[in-house]
């Protein structure tokens, strides 16, 4: 597994990019109802670094304060949930799925189990598996041709319409 730093990530559209300048610690999933609704999913997958080892390298986070104590950062342009930070804490967590290589960070704990969904334990055994390219080849090809997702690596520029920047990053 790639051990290189910084570890980079960002939102789907690429308007917000970040770098972690230390190996993130405390990787976990949180089932609490606040994390579920913030992520629109079964749980929030998070891992953290010291605040001074987290750098926004492009754009800026939009912040929703889910309480006076917690800032949830996301991309205003595409919605990707990106960060979780307790006000005043010297740590910040990023969403594992927003990492360019989410395989690198395996969660080690699960929190908020009072909110855990009844079917979570069956996650590994959901039947009817399909592969994107085989599921609907025509649709997959159309998505591939007009994909607006930022690639899983740094780029020298970003265009909101998904078009390629020129050599100067414009």
């Amino acid at each position: 597994m790639n051990q290189d730093l910084p570890m980079r990530g960002g939102c789907q559209c690429g308007a917000v990019r970040y770098a972690l300048r230390q190996w993130p610690t405390g990787p976990h999933i949180c089932h609490c109802r606040m994390c579920q609704k913030a992520f629109g999913s079964f749980f929030a997958p998070l891992t953290g670094v010291k605040l001074d080892k987290f750098e926004i390298t492009r754009g800026e986070l939009a912040i929703f304060m889910s309480s006076d104590e917690a800032e949830r950062g996301f991309c205003r342009n595409c919605g990707t949930p990106l960060t979780f930070h307790y006000v005043g804490s010297d740590r910040i967590a990023v969403s594992i799925g927003s990492l360019d290589e989410p395989e690198r960070i395996k969660p080690e704990y699960q929190y908020g189990i009072e909110g855990r969904l009844s079917y979570f334990g069956e996650l590994a055994a959901i039947p009817r598996e399909t592969v994107t390219e085989e599921d609907d080849p025509e649709k997959a090809a159309a998505i591939h041709r007009t994909n607006h997702q930022h690639p899983d690596h740094e780029t020298n520029g970003w265009h909101p319409d998904g078009s390629e920047p020129d050599a100067e990053g414009r």
Binding site: C11, F39, G40, C75, T80, I113, E114, Q149
Partner: protein, 163 residues
Amino acid sequence: MPDINITGGCQCGAVRYAVHETPFQIGICHCRMCQKAAGAPFVASFTVKKANLEWTRGLPAVFKSSTNMERGFCKDCGTPLFNNWVPSEVIHPTVGSLDDPNAVRPEGQMGTESRVAWLADIVALPEMSTDDAFKGYEDLAAEIVATNRQHPDHDTSVWPPKQ
């Protein structure tokens, strides 16, 4: 519309919806586009006809992740709300945005070419409740409860509540 009213919305409550149909094709998608859109190992969604999805408060913002794929979210809090293949007559709201996500049960998984290697292991991770995790931090937990801005898991006539 059928006499079904299943509600959901974003974390902050600026966007609320109701579906007037029993959800079908409930599943998770591991593809790399869904992962990055959700900031998570997969998107969990269900399916209803577009005609049976009603926006009852506010409207979602949309990012077109490709020309015909709209990903809806709340521009005020970021909650991912749906995937929409524009030419289709059905739409796929996110399971976690439902007020009662236990009401649907995933029955399929897509995009398995991108499934993270650790996915099967997370069901057996050491576990802790929120109350236990906040032992020694009871003041912080109380402050979160006292200032919680998350919309409740049911419709409200006014939101945020008037002070």
